[in-house]
């Protein structure tokens, strides 16, 4: 049986972790360094840090904040936000990232950066973030924190990034995000069944049951949790125990 990874997700607008409400308003919820360490101590399988405004503001990646978080964490650390070139990947690795997350630039400008990064750093180091908006009969890829449309079909894009060498896909749903109504299970399930690389269900956990349901129904390889942790509703330990008690394998 496969073990599902539980990832603590930090959406950051340096110097704060923020909580996007429908990807629009941002509420400050804490300090990235402190909270990353807290989730690490709770037993998070990975920490995922995304600077959610870097692409939108077209500004440089703020490495010093990333390095501060990385220095305390002896577990995998996945970093994204504002990534454009293989040079950005390289710098992020040298500032403590183990995997790099890319969305906007690959989706809207040049998807070949995925191929290049996979060749240089290995597929395992390249994570593509897909922000999906549900329409009547399809999901559309968005970028810049759910603000910019692409006209690209999520499932097609997922297959494309896999063929370009991405090693993992992080899925967030625009609309469900920040609203705590649960995952878009159908979306995650569609992506899982269409690609042969690990998929992380990335947003919308509103309760322990939500997480269990998403795993049982959509079969992602990992789940990224933010709100439940940030507001101290549950710990990583609570999540793992609930999953374990319900027959989902996790690393304890």
């Amino acid at each position: 049986m496969k073990k599902v990874r539980i990832i603590a997700r930090l959406d950051v607008k340096p110097p704060y972790i923020v909580k996007p409400i429908h990807f629009d308003g941002l509420r400050k919820v804490g300090d990235p360094e402190e909270m990353a360490l807290k989730y690490y101590d709770q037993g998070a399988d990975e920490i995922c840090y995304i600077d959610i405004v870097a692409s939108l503001y077209r500004r440089e990646i703020l490495y010093e904040y990333i390095e501060k978080v990385a220095k305390n964490i002896l577990a995998p650390f996945c970093v994204g936000g504002g990534v454009q070139t293989t040079d950005d990947f390289s710098k992020l690795f040298h500032h403590g990232a183990d995997k790099v997350v890319i969305n906007t630039y690959a989706l809207q400008e040049n998807s070949e950066v995925i191929d290049k990064a996979a060749t240089i750093f290995g597929s395992q180091a390249v994570v593509v973030h897909i922000e999906a908006k549900r329409w009547d009969r399809w999901w559309e890829c968005y970028s810049d924190c759910g603000r910019i449309r692409s006209n690209k079909d999520v499932i097609q894009w997922a297959k494309e990034v896999e063929s370009r060498g991405a090693g993992e896909i992080l899925v967030s749903s625009v609309g469900n995000d920040g609203t705590e109504r649960g995952f878009d299970i159908e979306l995650v399930g569609e992506i899982v069944s269409n690609v042969n690389i690990p998929v992380i269900a990335g947003s919308g956990a509103g309760s322990l049951e939500d997480i269990k349901d998403a795993i049982v129904k959509a079969k992602p390889d990992a789940v990224a949790v933010a709100t439940l942790l940030h507001y101290n509703i549950n710990t990583i330990g609570d999540i793992k125990k609930h999953l374990h008690d319900n027959g989902v394998e996790v690393s304890l």
């Binding site: 073990k3 240089i120 290995g122 395992q124 690389i197």
Partner: protein, 202 residues
Amino acid sequence: MKTVVGLVNYGVAGNIFSMKKALEISGATVKIVETCKDFSNIDKIVLPGVGSFNDAMEEIENDGIKEVLIEMVNTKHTLGICLGMQILVNVGFEFFETKGLGILEGESRKLNVSYKIPHIGWTNIEVARECPLFRDINENDSYYFIHSLEVVKSPGVIAFSRYNDYRFVSGIHDGNGVFGLQFHPEKSREQGIRILRNFINL
């Protein structure tokens, strides 16, 4: 005197930061090795693991350190991690056939599974042969794996692990001073540090 570990940087791809940090936490002084002269005054060698097989070998060739590296590995305790373990063997087949360092018998191949690749996750190790690296480890502890490759045809297996039901080699040893680990001790919490400490204290 602290043990000085030479951490070999294969150029652009190596994740030096986390490895350096973990080695320092484990009690070593770290010296980054990029050219032949950097090999002076080091006690042990670590080959880190981010990148692809052929890129790493190409960097090592281009930096002109291959011969010195092989000579050093043969005389100093060496730990290859993930990709760093893969390149210790004779030959790799990641994208195309590439010669490895040839320190240990074996081949590096894509994981022979129908599951998703890369294999990413925390899992435990099953010690196949006693080894000083595994001194005082707890058998229930999990370690972090992220890899698309596996070592096969190696006579020096010290540990196996499982990806779902598939059993693969997670540790190799040449019987002397050269070790390879498929998982990332530097990313595996306190249990990973214990293994690094065992290596440093050899």
